[in-house]
Subunit: 405 residues, 2 copies
């Protein structure tokens, strides 16, 4: 099966070979071919170039993309897309001015998500999550990370992770699974006891069933300390689970240093940064993943992504899709927020949401760019003439048609 | 043709009769029927009620809306959807830190839009605008206002208004036209000379061809004064054009008072309000239309919509869709911003975007609510259980299927 897409207004994010994570000035370079063709053979990108170089050969199907762009699928490298119930009630309570304490008294937060999840069958949990993954796919996401962390018991964490694995098999989008047992301390347990449970019971069980690719810890006041993270990541390494962690959302507690020392694939959130954090990340191989949807929804500061890029840090953008603090699965919205609010250029934001996000999932060899030999996970845009229109038409879906997902 | 929609999870914004513009506590009441049916006969809402009261009668077609909501189409009462070119280049220049002066030197702003529009054929202008109106329709907009104002010459203003009228005839969405000659002073003319041109030449020509329903003035420092507005609105009244004006976006110059004295149907923007402005609006029949998309995109303060409602002002929400300061046609995004950023409850925001927005276009007798005898301009949602999910899933399109547009 050979398909030709011709007359592409802009073929965006074209790379001859897989680049390392993009930093500094490289973030400003978004390789584009104007008026291009693309050939897909059996689901793999076979060739591309400017229309004047189009080889005269047969195609089983020809798509005319006149007046439209073609981009690689977004990589959403940080989500909590498996949850039992949306928490819009809590959102409305906040709008009405209820304090966090009142909402907690009414049973809000991560613990509410955990109660609902414990009571739900694995099948129903899967069906609900599948709807969200399909919604994300319709907005152009072609590879997704999903975390556990609404289980908070061994059984419920395993249930979540099995659902995440099944989504990877059945949704049509490859999914990477992250074990986030250390998302919150469940009621009736001390933090110490729960960290013990994670280490003694959860991690071995997760590893036994090969249910996770990464290990995550929510390092934050009232949640887990850098010392807890150090312990958990040390144990996780014994099972081959690399770190991919929540740090510096509300407070800079030193989590960046601990995570980088453990060879974290990414450190995520980073709304609050110390001068030392900037230096540690600039000197590391770790991707800094910013989550502007969470800042937008909660009204907290945005991560200083522009400064990170200026300082040579490899930045990725993700949705943080979750029911409490970022209930949007739209990567185009995350990209728009990165541009409009974090003041990234469209080139930087698109690089952050494709090439660097692929590195944040160790998948740059097969996702995040238009490259010969890579799987053809692509989308054809709505009518537009320039990729700058993607963040410009904020809150709308730039995807016209999804190819080969 | 009789169609039955059954098993509707929530039938939202149900009204037995047309209410006056909603104010104060009435804004908190969003009439909903849970588990409802709706019957449409020849494009008109014939009946509705809870499923247990479903009459046993025939239908030509039955739609099962299990797990979905039905809402009346949004009313977008303030747009500039007819323009020659998107201005994403200027947007990117701003992101890169160029000052307004530099952008102006490069030919940005309303004047750039006017140059591009003057050079474009009426047919091409129509085709481009049609794409945007269709995009808005896909996000649930069922009645739209569109302004002129990128013409800035008699010929070009008439061209724009003819395009707007044609959109109303051919797009499938009814469109109200507003004459906004006084959008900016064109180069080579004094403000006084241009106001004279509007009064002596443009208004009579617009009236002769019945090209507008309303008259608008951008009352702002560097644009038009309250005195200009007074003059233009006085003349417009002679041709039966009611005021619908831009006031208080960056400065409170006294425009609210002038507009209300002229019986304005709506005053729009209102990011900057004086105590006197609150009082004048609370005592008037004029709708206060807030445009949160513009505040989001420009990073300027949001209009104090919550305080307006608390003070008894009838508030509407619209997109302000335009190429310079609010390039999003999505009413769901405007509603999400009204909730997340302006802290309206979902009930208030939905009332503002339906019933009150319909009043802002004098169309509440035929749009903005589910009412027996009204045209069935409705949408069936994506799978969801509560209208609170519409602003919650920000940046995504809640519309699953559009009915009878």
């Amino acid at each position: 099966m050979r398909r030709l897409i011709k007359n592409i207004r802009q073929l965006v994010q074209v790379r001859d070979r897989v680049p390392p994570p993009l930093r500094g000035d490289d973030m400003d370079r978004l390789p584009v071919i104007e008026n291009a063709y693309l050939i897909i053979e059996d689901g793999v990108i076979a060739d591309y170039g400017p229309m004047e170089a189009l080889p005269s050969s047969d195609a089983d199907r020809i798509i005319d993309a006149s007046g439209r762009l073609v981009l690689p699928a977004w990589i959403d490298s940080h989500t909590h897309a498996v949850f039992a119930r949306p928490r819009y009630g809590e959102f409305i309570d906040k709008i009405k001015g209820l304090s966090y304490e009142e909402i907690a008294r009414r049973g809000g937060g991560i613990v509410r998500s955990a109660e609902a999840l414990a009571a739900m069958s694995e099948q129903e949990l899967f069906e609900r999550a599948m709807r969200y993954v399909e919604a994300a796919r319709a907005y152009g996401t072609g590879l997704m990370e999903i975390k556990s962390g609404y289980g908070l018991s061994t059984d419920a964490e395993l249930k979540m992770l099995r659902v995440i694995r099944r989504l990877g098999r059945e949704s049509g989008i490859p999914v990477k699974a992250t074990f986030l047992g250390a998302h919150a301390v469940p009621p009736g347990m001390t933090r110490k006891e729960y960290v013990r449970l994670i280490i003694d019971e959860m991690l071995p069980a997760v590893a036994r069933e090969h249910l996770a690719d990464y290990a995550d810890v929510f390092c934050e006041e009232g949640y887990f300390t850098p010392r807890d993270m150090d312990l958990i990541l040390g144990e996780a390494a014994r099972y081959g689970l690399k770190p991919k962690v929540h740090v510096n959302q509300f407070h800079a507690l030193g989590g960046v240093e601990v995570a980088v020392r453990h060879g974290a694939v990414s450190v995520d959130h980073l709304e609050v940064m110390t001068p030392g954090d900037f230096e540690i990340l600039a000197d590391s191989e770790t991707i800094a993943t910013v989550l502007p949807g969470c800042s937008f929804f909660l009204g907290i500061p945005y991560a200083p992504a522009k400064e990170m890029i200026a300082r040579g840090i490899a930045v990725a953008v993700a949705t943080d899709f979750n029911p409490g603090s970022a209930p949007s699965w739209s990567m185009p919205m995350a990209v728009a927020l990165a541009v409009i609010k974090q003041k990234l250029t469209p080139e930087q934001a698109i690089n952050a949401a494709t090439v660097n996000a692929a590195h944040a999932l160790e998948a740059a060899d097969r996702a995040g760019m238009i490259r010969r030999g890579a799987p053809a996970r692509l989308w054809i845009s709505q009518p537009m003439e320039h990729y700058g229109e993607i963040p410009y038409y904020f809150g709308t879906n730039p995807v016209g048609h999804i190819l080969e997902f």
